[in-house]
């Protein structure tokens, strides 16, 4: 059962689940797919998160109760929805050195060598649960507990775009230069946010991510080739 709850007078929230799990994620994706395929007049945007889907609408075009009924009707028999297979997106990363100043610390904390950290980080497949926090920032699931590391005590004032980091059980890539407290282990030459393209972000919710180790030279080559 999906509960529908108003979020103010211009949005409503569909509570699909209450935990972060692949199963909840698949149901969230199914809800979004259904609402994308059967658009309701007056709905402006449908935004998925870990366990909820938020529907933004114009109350001049459709009132809350009517929209709630229309959404309920649209979600009938949702279990039948077939999701397309996930896209696999490979993200090249130059680990360590100036790009990954915290790699040695992450290794030491987990009693590993830096190359073992890289091996573990590149070995896994990560699910993009949702995009949020910043344009194109992926919330990734699937980090091995063997390299999980708490955030830095003092956040850095500036983290360059493309930085790959670890924060607790999460790993992620910074799309924009921002301040932040993640442990930085490397950097990708790819742009995660590219406003001149459609879609404007490299990753979408539901994608699978693989990290691949590259050298500093390869980093420069890809960086120059990336528009």
């Amino acid at each position: 059962m999906i509960s529908i709850i108003p979020m103010g007078d211009t949005a409503l929230v569909l509570e699909v689940g209450h935990t972060i799990s692949e199963e909840t994620h698949r149901r969230v994706q199914a809800v979004v797919q259904r609402l994308d395929q059967q658009p309701i007049s007056g709905v402006l945007e449908v935004v998925p998160a870990f366990a909820t889907v938020t529907v933004y609408y114009d109350p001049f075009q459709i009132a809350y109760t009517e929209l709630r009924d229309r959404v309920e009707a649209a979600l009938q028999g949702l279990t039948d929805v077939e999701l397309p297979p996930s896209r696999i997106v490979e993200i090249p990363v130059c680990y360590g050195g100036e790009f990954g100043p915290d790699l040695a610390k992450v290794a030491a904390r987990n009693q590993l060598t830096p190359s073992e950290v890289i091996e573990i980080h590149t070995d896994a497949e990560y699910l993009v649960y949702m995009i949020g926090f910043a344009p194109g920032f992926p919330y990734l699931g699937g980090l091995s507990e063997r390299i999980a590391t708490p955030r830095r005590d003092t956040p850095r004032p500036v983290i360059p775009a493309g930085s790959v980091g670890i924060a607790g059980q999460q790993t992620g890539v910074y799309p924009l230069e921002t301040p932040g407290g993640w442990q930085l282990i490397g950097r990708t030459p790819l742009r995660l946010f590219r406003p001149e393209q459609d879609p404007p972000t490299l990753l979408q919710a539901g994608d699978l991510v693989r990290f691949r180790e590259i050298t500093a030279e390869q980093y420069q080559v890809i960086k120059e080739e990336t528009p």
């Binding site: 103010g8 402006l44 909820t52 910043a134 404007p200």
Partner: protein
């Protein structure tokens, strides 16, 4: 047809109604803090209501006006003037070329919206001309205006051309005046209920029940001050009595979408109201959501002002919303007769 920036003011940016449709990619919506003032300013000069205008914050700019220009200034009263003469607000104004538009003291409100007939000629990014400062995205080179910037205008509508001709005739009768204006202005019914130290109406938030009974009561009786750590992204409030809001049980929330007007309570217990440049998602408990018709009132609060919250339900909020939109529809029809 340009403005040249002589002095940029505290924070002057191009904004329209925002970059919608990309929140699932984490793209911040931005847009005018006071969307009502923006829409009316555009309609007054014959633009589409979503066109980009200048959002002017507290201490406004000085702009050199190249040619005769049809403008409208709405929102907060930041003492707009031309050659020392006060410019009227909430009506179309033809400003003489070769003069300077200036802003002075913030007499009421915090943000003024300056529309020009034809809009500002900048390239939309992801469907919007709004400036997102933290992402250096959109607007005029992704940033606030600076000294020396030259802003070009787009093509005027037929309505604007006709209105400008009428105002030029009025101007020729008053050759000493740096501007001319119409005898009519926006009717009161369309204006947001701007006021100093307002009571803002809210709908209970998704985690309202997660707060202690005392905190739930306190939220609706407390007086909050808008702190100086308030900007286009959000307003940080401080309880004037120093009380904090507590949840009954501290649990880690799963991040989900937030919106313009979401009031979230971080662990220190003082509210943050999310505004135009908010992130798309958040993980703090949401005690309430400001109703859409009161967002313009909130947008005009200055740091130091006081605010209270009072609860309404969705049905009432949406009735108010429809009333406002019908008022704007009537205004649109009325204005097409004036032109």
């Amino acid at each position: 047809m340009t403005f040249t920036v002589i002095r940029p003011g505290l924070l002057t940016t191009l904004q329209d109604l925002g970059r919608h449709g990309y929140q699932r990619q984490g793209i911040v919506v931005s847009g005018a803090m006071d969307s009502c003032a923006l829409r009316i300013a555009n309609l007054l000069v014959g633009n589409r209501e979503r066109e980009a205008v200048l959002e002017i914050t507290l201490a406004g700019p000085v702009l050199q006006v190249q040619d005769d220009t049809l403008i409208a200034i709405c929102g907060g009263d930041l003492s707009p003037s031309c050659l020392g003469q006060r410019l009227p607000m909430w009506r179309p104004v033809l400003v003489r070329g070769g003069t300077r538009l200036e802003f002075g003291k913030a007499r009421s409100g915090c943000r003024a919206y300056l529309a020009v007939a034809g809009g500002f000629a900048v390239e939309p990014i992801l469907g919007s001309k709004s400036t997102y400062l933290r992402g250096n995205l959109g607007g005029y080179q992704g940033r606030a205006l600076q000294k020396g910037d030259v802003l070009a205008f787009g093509t005027k509508s037929i309505f604007a051309t006709r209105l400008q001709e009428t105002l030029r005739q009025t101007a020729s009768m008053h050759p000493d005046s740096p501007f001319s204006t119409t005898g009519w202005r926006v009717s009161e019914e369309v204006l947001p209920a701007y006021c100093h130290n307002p009571t803002v109406r809210v709908i209970k938030g998704r985690q309202f029940e997660a707060f202690t009974e005392e905190s739930r009561h306190h939220f609706f009786s407390a007086l909050y001050q808008v702190t100086s750590q308030s900007d286009r992204m959000g307003y940080r409030l401080q309880d004037v009595q120093g009380a904090v809001l507590n949840v009954s049980q501290r649990t880690e929330l799963i991040s989900e979408a937030v919106t313009f007007g979401t009031i979230q309570i971080p662990p220190e217990g003082q509210p943050i109201i999310l505004m135009a440049d908010r992130q798309t998602t958040g993980g703090y408990p949401k005690i309430a959501e400001v109703i859409a018709v009161d967002l313009p009132v909130l947008a005009q609060l200055k740091p130091g002002e006081l605010v209270r919250f009072c609860p309404v339900d969705v049905v009432e909020a949406q009735a108010l919303y429809r009333m406002r939109e019908m008022g704007i529809e009537r205004f649109k029809q009325g204005i097409s007769l004036e032109g």
